[in-house]
Symmetry: C2
Subunit: 315 residues, 2 copies
Amino acid sequence: MSSTSSTPGPSGTSLIVTGTIGIDTVYTPSGHAEKVLGGSCTYFAAAASFYAPVRIVAAAGGDFPDSFRDVFRAFPAIDTAGLEVRPGSRTFAWGGKYMKNMDTRETLFTELGVLAEKPPEIPAEFRDSRIVFLANSHPGVQLGFLEQLTERRLVVADTMDLWINIARDDLLVLLRRVDGLVLNYDEAELLTGRSNTVAAARHILEMGPKFVVVKKGEHGCLLAHREGLAALPAYPAETVVDPTGAGDSFAGGMMGALAAGGGDPSSAESIRKALAHGTIIASFNIEAFSLERLKTLKRAEIDARYREYAAMVRL
Amino acid sequence: MSSTSSTPGPSGTSLIVTGTIGIDTVYTPSGHAEKVLGGSCTYFAAAASFYAPVRIVAAAGGDFPDSFRDVFRAFPAIDTAGLEVRPGSRTFAWGGKYMKNMDTRETLFTELGVLAEKPPEIPAEFRDSRIVFLANSHPGVQLGFLEQLTERRLVVADTMDLWINIARDDLLVLLRRVDGLVLNYDEAELLTGRSNTVAAARHILEMGPKFVVVKKGEHGCLLAHREGLAALPAYPAETVVDPTGAGDSFAGGMMGALAAGGGDPSSAESIRKALAHGTIIASFNIEAFSLERLKTLKRAEIDARYREYAAMVRL
């Protein structure tokens, strides 16, 4: 897939993400969606693109539908030059079902497809990327990716219980090479053995990163940074149609805001404010299946909800 | 027990609470405490007393130890003229055990004692109270209490699953007579049948009150007000020794701040800021068993943590 020729960002803030493209089938108490565009890279990039140009590196199979390309075209700030379509392979497919309270889900099926093959290559023109997000994948793959980006200035990784369980040593190596880690509260407990989220996050700081963002879904997030702690509530959402991609769009909004922001992107203040942007984008994303809400979202809507949210926490 | 002759507050802001005095036995992963002072009225009043003079109306039995009186004396802004000690009766006693994650607990025993008798009387000199907190008890008793306070300006009630289950009709009557309701997120779901906290809180507004505060423990709180929504994270606490009284000290900090504040105590802005004070007081309370932490707490410590917390959520 060729670049959609978005305006390239200033090299100092060029944002890159590697992660999955998925064909998702999702059941929620609000309805269901079959074979829709999903994947960590997709949600991340769509969210980030409201703030900054974003380069994606991901693989799909020959079954990747034209309609999915149209979805990407709805986000002109996504540069898809690094989207490798492999004709003889199949796209990663995932099926999941959310329970009544929307915060637990059951995986119905997982077909790895291209995810079981070699990772996608970074296009030459992406090598100067400075702001890097490693969506959830094997920590060894994440490490191999970041090492190719010699101009990197800020690297943030996501991870999950699978890698904590089966690739812990690789993950510990990765943690010494990244600036930030994003993970769910139960994964923070699994990684550290500490059930108190604050204690777990502080413990992870000792493993290497400058900061850790613990995602708590409808309960917001905790930031543990070498400079101090912060906590943000989720935007109080009454309409939750599909939580899929909430964490990835949250990370996309955060990283996009960091890439767009002027100051030191690794300072606690920059990250705290960026987390608020992630919170707002994620709150829109969950209002519809797949990328349906983000596709029609306008920057003015984001700004209006951001102001509303900021007023909610103003002391 | 006679008044500890605290400075009376200006009549416009005189704060009164009715609730329980308890003899608590508590086991937590951090240790245990046997037969220590507890109860909703106690925690509430201790917390509120950092902000405003507070009048308590509660009953205890002949077994009420002198050492408990000494604890009350550590909070000179608590006016104990309404603490009725009944020589032939026993004080309410409660035993509980907290699980590893501190957010679930098991009740080991409950001895109602004076709680099974008639409610305590409101001293004549308390009848002009304007700011009223009805700690958790039978909604019929709460209603009887508020009706005696003809000068009431702001009435906030707490409730629990027991009353939602066995005294729902009385609770619905009460809800049409109070300005605000404070309850836990699972109780909000039980009351409304809605698992989404925002939807549940909005539903409760339709039952009468101007505002609802949904407590989520370590996940902070949600305010649903006729003027709009707000959400606040908990103070990120690493040291949790005993969560007992967290909700009552939270309410005490909130109501104390409302009583002390200058503006309209029922406005969304007043309540949002008051909730932050409740959040901070509760975060201290859980650092030790019983009233041990609040007994030694200084206003300067509260102010320092409040500033730290405000910086954490500043956008």
